[in-house]
Symmetry: C2
Subunit: 131 residues, 2 copies
């Protein structure tokens, strides 16, 4: 099971397929050069609190690594959009196996500005932060 871990924007072109009735929800996605993709790592174990990815006896907390083995095996990638054809998105930078269920798709946070009018919370900052 070889997949480019963490993805790379010059990696192989992958295809994401959107099922009915959600194809029209792709309207406007082509405006964005990069997308955030969230998927369910369906073959992953979910029971390891500590793990040793390098198999070197050095145990690490599951939340301190990006291993696919986690209580909720959610993977996220920031991918480059190559093109959209109907319900199919062709993208680069994905790091999952063929057949992985897609959960969500949205513009990369760095490229997106909220469309609804500003609201109070948008401007709230910390008074002081004790590190």
């Amino acid at each position: 099971m070889h997949t480019p871990r963490q993805g790379r924007l010059d990696g192989p072109v992958c295809r994401i397929e959107i099922f009915d009735p959600w194809e029209p929800a792709l309207a406007g996605v082509d405006q964005y050069e990069r997308l955030e993709v969230i998927y369910w790592l369906h073959l992953s174990r979910r029971d390891l609190v500590l793990q040793s990815p390098a198999n070197d006896g050095n145990a690490r907390g599951t939340f301190s690594i990006r291993s696919p083995v986690r209580p909720n095996p959610l993977g996220t990638s920031v991918v480059k959009l190559v093109r959209i054809e109907g319900p199919n998105l062709f993208i680069q930078g994905l790091d999952c196996l063929d057949g992985t269920p897609l959960l969500d798709l949205k513009p990369d946070r760095a490229l997106f500005t909220p469309i609804a009018p500003p609201q109070d919370g948008d401007f709230q900052v910390a008074a002081a932060v004790k590190e």
Copy 2:
């Protein structure tokens, strides 16, 4: 319901609580200045294929915006870690409501290098990309 949309790294300090048995999975998280947080936007509608956040009659595809209204209402934030106290993480940059269920927590992709030995897929690039 006011929350700083999309979060901001100088925003209010928020608390994330990890429930048993997952507290030990935080081991090593304190090495990272920024974390990726994934949560379930439990109060969101899930049935809109098109939506108009500005209420201006301009309908947009759900996947072309970062609205909380989506088929799988998953929110992601990149947050700044302030400190960890037992099962509690204090962070800045979150954009969700109090009581939102946490699904996953991992180092920011930009700060993380895989720990397991390299594998073939890591080096695979596109031969040619037809845009």
